[in-house]
């Protein structure tokens, strides 16, 4: 009704204003929507294998075939060292871990563009979407890890030359690092590409190229001294080396390397969340 007397001292539940502080994260809001996160993960999982015969088995196919190809090309044709480990095991360890990081990164990096329609029509904490991506990739990662474990058992029975070390205890921490690193970098990229899309082109082949700058197809010990430091600058190198050291007993795990990856991850995560948070409010107008 018009002409009402202004009421003072009323408590408002919500104030919508143009700008808010960089660090208002509304984590409470995110928590309140946790059911949505679970449902998004479920949606991704179910819709992945709907109308397929093999269903979730498809999660196995990609790492399996990549391992076979890598064993053939890099192992047999190129003859790159695998630190004495069975070649399929060596490659599969790298591929499984790298895939998780790469999937988190590429999928999060297009989160605004892919969901512009839904974001433009309804409000929920935007952070739910990238978080759900990381979580559904985690499901996928775990399924693929199962394949890796089956192979470990197979080679162990055959008596191949490898051993599990104490560093396997670091596994949950390594997964967390990969998830957060992919998330942080992805958030930065998606926020930057709402206005100028150039970066989005870079990411699709950039991730592929970056794999070769990580110790996925070769061990760090086999890298030429000249480039070794460059490869160590890649935060994923430390993570994958630690992963391999834990499961297979070969790899360079030092406090520096894992510490560097951790610091790098958290800096990119904080940066990513802040930029994302700032962008989410108006990206609907510019995407």
């Amino acid at each position: 009704m018009p002409n009402t007397i202004e009421q003072l001292n009323q408590d408002w539940d919500l104030t919508i204003a143009p700008q808010s502080s960089l660090f208002t994260l509304n984590l409470k809001d995110v928590w309140r929507y946790r059911d949505l996160l679970v449902l998004f993960v479920k949606r991704d999982f179910i819709s992945f294998y709907k109308q397929t015969i093999l269903g979730p088995l498809w999660f196995f196919i990609q790492p399996l075939f990549t391992t076979i190809i890598f064993t053939f090309i890099f192992g047999n044709l190129a003859g790159i060292s695998t630190d004495g480990l069975p070649q399929p095991l060596f490659y599969m360890a790298g591929i499984t871990a790298w895939n998780y990081f790469a999937d988190c990164l590429t999928k999060t990096s297009t989160v605004f563009k892919d969901n512009a329609n839904i974001f433009g029509k309804v409000y929920f904490p935007r952070l739910i979407m990238p978080l759900s991506i990381v979580a559904s990739n985690l499901v996928r990662f775990m399924v693929q890890l199962l394949l890796f474990v089956i192979m470990i058992v197979y080679y162990a029975v055959k008596g191949a030359n490898f051993h599990i070390t104490w560093a396997i205890g670091l596994f949950p921490f390594l997964v967390l690092l990969m998830a957060l690193l992919g998330l942080g970098l992805g958030l930065i990229i998606t926020a930057l590409t709402t206005k100028y899309r150039d970066l989005a082109f870079l990411i699709t082949f950039g991730v592929q190229l970056m794999m070769y700058a990580t110790t996925v197809i070769y061990p760090l010990s086999a890298a030429p001294i000249k480039y070794k430091h460059l490869i160590e600058l890649n935060p994923m190198t430390g993570i994958i080396e630690a992963f391999r050291y834990g499961f297979l007993g070969q790899g360079e795990l030092t406090l520096q390397s894992i510490g560097y990856s951790t610091v790098f991850t958290f800096i990119s995560l904080i940066l990513g969340v802040v930029i994302f948070n700032k962008t989410e409010k108006t990206f609907v107008d510019t995407i």
Partner: protein, 402 residues
């Protein structure tokens, strides 16, 4: 009663044309001037109105300009205005999809907004799975959906299909299911954009009934955007009229609709003679043109023009509530005389109550493309809605002019 929504100096600026001011250097210049030097936006020219049909000089337009109003708790408010008046922008800001450029909105209570039916529906998932997903997107907890699940399915009327992927649904069933979820949201404020345009007549009735129940029965605040004046009037007590981003009127819904409807007519009178066609109200005996038909028993509405014999002609008389009460059309082309200079139709004015009426006529060619409309309609959907109006429909009573 207390205020549920308070809008203060709300403005939203959009940039026309390409995104960005065009180049990254101008973007940087703008950013430096605004954020470092603290000056106003250098590319924003103040004082230009946002009229979509006129040419302007500035790239930036006010989609909303300096809105101030308060909505009381429990009110049902209809928001009306022409296309581009800022209705959707206002709803988008209220539902936190985008932020205002300046100004503030203060809200008391939970907001549930329905800007689109079925947001986030995944075609591969079944109806059951989509109810949960959509409910969660709209802000419901899983427990809440569990509790209301049966009610939602009942309301939607698609029980038989509930375990079928929604991509196999007809579009009507899809909408039914989606609206059913939204209708069961527990919130103090419900925001609904024009979403009832789909679905069959029965379902539209159910939707309006449900919304009425929400606002009147449960005392929740409802904001409703629609071009369907009859629906707005039956549902809402108050109305907000937006014109080019500014608040033109905030009053009782009847007043607002009246102002809107008559604004429309004024702006379109000059189109009534165009391209050799003319349209007039004439008296039977002497053929003189009349404006006031209160003294005549029988009114002839006459459409003149060459080449009309190959066109579809339709006309509708609207009452003050903007309901079509009388329609007449010519569709079949065989029976028409080729050299006829026009057609007229008798309207029994004795059947009309006292009041103001508005006549709209449209001439379409064979491809059903409208070649001429005599009076602009509010929107296409409204024009189509005429077919559903309760008035009389006369089909073949047209007579040739000699």
């Amino acid at each position: 009663m207390s205020v549920a929504i308070k809008v203060e100096n709300l403005s939203k600026i959009y940039r026309l044309g390409e995104i960005g001011t065009g180049t990254i250097s101008r973007d940087l210049e703008r950013w430096v001037k605004m954020n470092v030097l603290g000056k106003d936006d250098p590319f924003l020219k103040i004082g230009e109105s946002n009229n979509r049909s006129e040419k302007g000089n500035s790239d930036l337009v006010y989609s909303l300009q300096d809105l101030n109003f308060e909505i009381q708790q429990g009110d049902a408010v209809g928001i009306i205005g022409r296309n581009g008046a800022g209705k959707s922008t206002l709803l988008k800001i209220l539902s936190r999809v985008t932020t205002p450029t300046t100004g503030k909105v203060k809200i008391k209570g939970r907001v549930a907004s329905l800007l689109e039916v079925g947001t986030g529906f995944h075609p591969e998932l079944t109806g059951r799975e989509n109810i949960y997903l959509n409910g969660a997107i709209l802000g419901m907890r899983k427990k809440e959906i569990d509790r209301k699940f049966d009610e939602i399915v009942d309301f939607s009327g698609v029980e038989r299909y509930i375990d079928t992927p929604v991509k196999r649904y007809s579009s009507g069933m899809y909408v039914r299911l989606a609206f059913a979820v939204a209708a069961h949201l527990e919130s103090e404020i419900l925001i609904v954009d024009e979403v009832l345009a789909v679905g069959d007549a029965e379902f539209q009735k159910i939707c309006l009934g449900k919304m009425g129940e929400v606002s009147k029965g449960e005392g929740r605040t409802v904001l409703f955007v629609s071009h369907n004046m009859a629906a707005v009037q039956s549902l809402c007590g108050e109305g907000i009229l937006l014109g080019c981003g500014t608040l033109e009127l905030y009053s009782e819904i009847k007043e607002v609709v009246k102002k809107y409807v008559y604004n429309e007519i004024d702006s379109s009178v000059q189109i009534s003679i165009l391209g050799g066609l003319s349209f007039s109200l004439v008296q039977l005996n002497d053929g003189s043109i009349v404006d006031d038909v209160s003294s005549i028993r029988e009114l002839h509405i006459c459409i003149k023009g060459h080449g009309l014999c190959e066109k579809t002609i339709g006309l509708t008389i609207f009452n003050e509530e903007n309901q079509g009460i009388f329609s007449a059309h010519i569709f079949d082309f065989q029976d028409r005389r080729l050299n006829s200079s026009g057609y007229y139709i008798k309207v029994p004015t004795g059947l009309l109550k006292k009041g103001n009426y508005r006549v709209e006529a449209a001439v379409d060619d064979k491809q059903n493309e409208c070649v001429l409309k005599f009076k602009k309609t509010y929107s296409d959907s409204l024009f189509l809605n005429n077919n559903n109006s309760k008035g009389l429909l006369m089909l073949s009573d047209w007579t040739h002019l000699h």
